[in-house]
C-alpha cells in the first residue's frame, strides 16, 4: 500500500495534474507548427513524467523515482540543446521554421 499519509494531497490529484500537463504537451506537439513551441510542449511532457516519478517516489518511499527525475532533467536538457540547434540550422538555411514546410525527407 502506498503511504498516502506522507503526501500533502491525495495521489490521484498528482496523477490527474500530470495527465493534464502531458495532454497539453501532446496537443502542443501535434497541433502547433512552430518548432520552438513544439520543443516547449515536449518539455511539458517530460515534466509531466517527472511529476509522476516524484509523486510515486514519495508515496512508495522509494528513492529510485528521485534518481530517475534527475536523469529525465539531464536528458531533457540534452534534447533541448539538440532540438534548438536543429531549429537554428534550419532557420539559417531557409528563413522559415514552419515544420510542415520542412519535409524534404518525404519518401
Amino acid at each position: 500500500m502506498p503511504h498516502e499519509s506522507l503526501l500533502p494531497v491525495a495521489l490521484i490529484n498528482y496523477i490527474s495534474l500530470s495527465l493534464v500537463i502531458f495532454l497539453i504537451g501532446v496537443a502542443g506537439v501535434v497541433l502547433r507548427r512552430n518548432p520552438l513551441i513544439m520543443l516547449m510542449s515536449i518539455e511539458l511532457m517530460w515534466n509531466a513524467a517527472n511529476l509522476l516519478f516524484l509523486a510515486f517516489a514519495r508515496a512508495w518511499l522509494n528513492n529510485a523515482g528521485h534518481i530517475f527525475a534527475f536523469l529525465v532533467i539531464t536528458v531533457a536538457a540534452a534534447e533541448a540543446a539538440i532540438g534548438l540547434a536543429i531549429v537554428v540550422v534550419v532557420f539559417r538555411s531557409r528563413e522559415n521554421v514552419d515544420v510542415d514546410e520542412v519535409a524534404i525527407l518525404k519518401g
Binding site: 501535434v30 507548427r33 515544420v99 510542415d100 525527407l105 518525404k106
Partner: protein, 664 residues
C-alpha cells in the same frame, strides 16, 4: 589361352624410375622459369634432360626385364590415394619400349628442334612445352593403374593443345588446337567410364588387380573395352574421331614428329596392348577394335592420296599406320602391333623431320606442288626420307617390312580374312601415296618460282599461306643467325638409318623382340593359318611394286617430269571430290554436333537467358519496387504526422493496459 603372362611388377625401390620420370618435368620447369635468361640455351637444357632420361631408361633395362617367374618388371610404390587405391610406377618390357622411344626419338627431335626453332623468340616456351609433353607421356606409360594412366592421358592432351597452338597468332592454329583438345576429351571421358566400371566391379584400378580376372567385369566387360577403346580411338586418331590429327599439323614440324607421329598418337596402341587380358576375354571387343583399325588404315591411306600439303599427307599416313597398329593389337597380335609402333616411330619421325628440313629450306612452303627437285638442295633429307619411304611402304629389308608383315600376317593367323585383305590393299595404297610424295617433292625441277595457279593451286588462301605466315610470325630474334646445319641433319640421318635397321631385332623366329616380349602378352594357341606367312609377304611385295609402280609411272618417268606442272594442275582439277572433302566427315560432324551445339547456344543466349534468367531477376526487382512504393507512402516527411502516429501508438498502449486492469 596360356596363363604364361606376368603382369605385375616386382615391388621394390627403384630410384632410376624417378630419374626417368621427373627429369623432363624439371627441364620443363627450368625452361619455363628461366626462359628469358636461357634463350637458346633452353634448347640445350631441354635436349639434355631428355637425353639423360634416355640413358636412365637404358640403364633400367635390367630392372624392366627382371622376371621372378610370376611377376615381370619393376613396380615402385608412390603413395596411397584413398584406402585401397595405390599409385605407383610400373616399368615392364611394354612400358620400357615406349619409354625408350619417347626419350630416345624424343631426344633426337629435341636436338633437331634447337635448329628448327633457332630464330623463334619463344624458343624457351617451346622447350618448356616439349619437356612437359615428355613428362606427361612418361606419366602415361609408367603408371601402374588406370587413374594414373588417365592423368597422363589428359596431360598429353594438354601438352598437345599447347604445342599445336604454339604459334597462337595464327587463327587456324588456335582452331586446330581447340579441335584436338575437344576430341581428345571425348576419349578421356570414355576411359573415365571404363574406370567407373572397374571400381564398381573390381574395386581397384591397378592393372594387376583388374587383369587378374577380367571376367570379374562381367557383364560389363565388353563395355569396359568399348569405353577404353573410345579413349584409344580419340588419342590415336581412329575413325570416327580422327579429324583432329590432320589439323594438328598447324603446330611446328618437330611437334608433329614427336607428338602427332612417334609418341602421343600411339598411346591408344599402348592402352590396347596394356589391356591385352581384357581384350582376349572379350572377342566382340577384339572384332570391334580390329575392324576400326583396318578401316582407319584404309581411310587414312585413301585420304593421303588426295592431299597436297606435305605435312597433311604425312598426317593421314600416320592415321593409316596407327590403324595398322590398332588392327594388330585388336586381333590379338599384340607383339606385332607394338613392333609396328617401334619401327613407325623411327620412319615417321624421320619423314616429318625431313619434311621440316624442306619446309625450312623453302621458307615455310608446305605445298608439294611448289616443291620439286629437292634432291639436290636437301640431300640429307632426300637420302633419309628415301629410307623412311621404303620402310613405310614395306620394301624388303627395311624396318616397316618386318613389322607390317607381322601385323598383316597376324590378321590371317587369328582368322580374320577381311582384315588381312584390307591390310594388303592398304599396303599398296601406302606405297602409292608415299612414293607420290617422294617423287613430286624430290624429283624433277624446282617449281616454287611458278605461279601457284600454274600447278593447280586454286584458292587464294592456299597460295598465300606461306606469305601470311611470314607477315604474322613473331618478330625474329635480332641476331638473325643460322643454326649449325648438323643440328637438323644429324637427327634426321640417325632416324633414317634406324628406319632401315630397326627391323632387324624382329626377324621371324626366335628374335630378340620375341624374347623381349615373351612373357608380356598372353599366348594363344592358334590353329595353323590358311595362308602362310610366305604367301602374305609375297602378296605384300606385289602390292608394294604395283603401288610404287603407279606412282613412278604418274610422277617420275622422264616424260612426266618434263610436264610436271601441267600434270599436277590436271590432277588437282580432277581429284575426286569425296577424297578432297575428306569423305565429308568434317561436314557430318559439323552437322551432327557443331551446328546443334551452336543452335543450343543461340537458344540459351537469345531466348533462355533474356526471358528466363533475366525474367527471374526482373521479378525480384518488380516486387521490391512495389513493396517500396507501399512503405514509402508512410514517409510523408511531416514531423507532426510522425508525432501523431507516436501519440496514437502510445494511446493504444494506454487503452490496452487500462482495459487489462479493468478486466482483472
Amino acid at each position: 589361352m596360356s596363363l604364361d603372362v606376368h603382369q605385375m611388377g616386382i615391388p621394390g625401390s627403384y630410384p632410376a624410375l624417378f630419374v626417368i620420370w621427373l627429369l623432363p618435368l624439371a627441364g620443363a620447369i627450368a625452361c619455363w622459369a628461366f626462359g628469358p635468361q636461357l634463350k637458346r640455351y633452353a634448347g640445350v637444357l631441354g635436349s639434355a634432360v631428355i637425353g639423360a632420361a634416355f640413358i636412365a631408361a637404358l640403364v633400367s633395362w635390367n630392372i624392366a626385364t627382371q622376371d621372378s617367374g610370376s611377376q615381370l618388371g619393376a613396380e615402385q610404390h608412390l603413395f596411397t590415394w584413398l584406402q585401397g587405391f595405390d599409385f605407383g610406377l610400373l616399368l615392364d618390357p611394354l612400358s620400357l619400349i615406349w619409354v625408350l622411344i619417347i626419350t630416345g626419338v624424343g631426344f633426337l627431335i629435341h636436338l633437331y628442334s634447337v635448329g628448327y626453332m633457332w630464330n623463334d623468340n619463344a624458343i624457351a616456351r617451346f622447350f618448356a612445352y616439349m619437356n612437359f609433353f615428355v613428362f606427361a607421356m612418361l606419366t602415361l606409360v609408367l603408371s601402374d593403374n588406370f587413374v594414373g594412366l588417365l592423368v597422363g592421358w589428359g596431360l598429353v592432351g594438354l601438352a598437345s593443345y599447347f604445342l599445336i597452338g604454339f604459334w597462337f597468332f595464327k587463327p587456324s592454329a588456335v582452331a586446330a588446337a581447340r579441335k584436338a583438345f575437344v576430341l581428345n576429351v571425348v576419349g578421356d571421358v570414355g576411359i573415365m567410364f571404363a574406370i567407373f566400371i572397374m571400381i564398381a566391379k573390381v574395386g581397384s584400378v591397378r592393372f594387376a588387380d583388374v587383369f587378374a580376372n577380367p571376367h570379374a567385369l562381367d557383364p560389363w566387360l565388353f563395355w569396359t573395352c568399348v569405353f577404353l577403346f573410345i579413349g584409344a580411338a580419340a588419342k590415336s586418331a581412329q575413325l570416327p574421331l580422327h579429324t583432329w590429327l590432320p589439323d594438328a599439323m598447324e603446330g611446328p614440324t618437330p611437334v608433329s614428329a614427336l607428338i602427332h607421329a612417334a609418341t602421343m598418337v600411339t598411346a591408344g596402341v599402348y592402352l590396347v596392348a596394356r589391356c591385352a587380358p581384357l581384350w582376349l576375354a572379350s572377342h566382340e571387343a577384339q572384332i570391334l577394335v580390329g575392324t576400326v583399325g583396318a578401316l582407319t588404315a584404309l581411310a587414312g591411306a585413301l585420304l593421303g592420296i588426295a592431299q597436297w600439303d606435305i605435312k597433311r599427307i604425312l598426317a593421314y599416313s600416320t592415321m593409316s599406320q596407327i590403324g595398322y597398329m590398332i588392327m594388330g593389337v585388336g586381333v590379338g597380335a599384340f607383339s606385332a602391333g607394338v613392333a609396328h609402333f617401334f619401327t613407325h616411330a623411327f620412319f615417321k619421325a624421320c619423314l616429318f623431320l625431313g619434311s621440316g628440313i624442306i619446309i625450312h629450306e623453302l621458307s615455310d612452303e608446305q605445298d608439294i606442288r611448289l616443291m620439286g627437285g629437292m634432291r639436290k638442295r636437301t640431300p640429307v633429307a632426300f637420302w633419309s626420307m628415301l629410307s623412311a619411304v621404303l620402310a613405310i611402304s614395306g620394301a624388303p629389308f627395311f624396318s616397316g617390312y618386318f613389322s607390317k608383315d607381322q601385323v598383316i600376317y597376324g590378321d590371317i593367323e587369328h582368322g580374320d580374312l577381311w582384315l588381312w585383305a584390307i591390310g594388303l590393299l592398304t599396303a599398296g595404297i601406302t606405297a602409292y601415296y608415299m612414293f607420290r610424295l617422294f617423287f613430286v617433292t624430290f624429283m624433277g625441277t624446282y617449281r616454287g618460282d611458278l605461279k601457284p595457279a600454274d600447278v593447280g593451286i586454286e584458292t587464294e588462301v592456299a597460295a598465300s599461306t606461306a606469305a601470311i605466315k611470314h607477315e604474322t610470325s613473331e618478330p625474329h630474334a635480332e641476331d638473325h643467325t643460322h643454326a649449325p646445319a648438323w643440328l637438323m641433319a644429324v637427327p634426321v640421318a640417325i632416324l633414317g638409318f634406324f628406319s632401315f635397321a630397326a627391323g632387324y631385332v624382329m626377324l621371324p623366329g626366335n628374335s630378340p623382340w620375341a624374347h623381349f616380349f615373351a612373357h608380356s602378352f598372353p599366348l594363344e594357341r592358334l590353329p595353323a593359318s590358311t595362308i602362310s606367312e610366305g604367301v602374305t609377304t609375297g602378296i605384300a611385295i606385289v602390292m608394294l611394286i604395283i603401288g610404287a609402280g603407279i606412282a613412278y609411272w604418274r610422277y617420275a618417268t622422264p616424260e612426266a617430269l618434263q610436264n610436271a606442272p601441267e600434270r599436277l594442275k590436271r590432277e588437282s582439277e580432277t581429284l575426286p571430290a569425296i577424297l578432297v572433302r575428306l569423305f565429308y566427315w568434317d561436314d557430318v560432324i559439323d552437322w551432327l554436333f557443331v551446328k546443334p551445339s551452336q543452335k543450343l547456344g543461340d537458344f540459351f543466349g537469345q531466348w533462355f537467358d533474356p526471358h528466363f534468367v533475366d525474367g527471374v531477376v526482373r521479378e525480384v526487382v518488380f516486387s521490391n519496387r512495389f513493396l517500396g512504393t507501399v512503405v514509402r507512402s508512410f514517409q510523408t516527411g511531416l514531423l507532426r504526422a510522425y508525432a501523431l502516429i507516436i501519440v496514437f501508438g502510445a494511446a493504444c498502449f494506454a487503452v490496452y493496459y487500462a482495459l487489462e486492469g479493468a478486466m482483472r
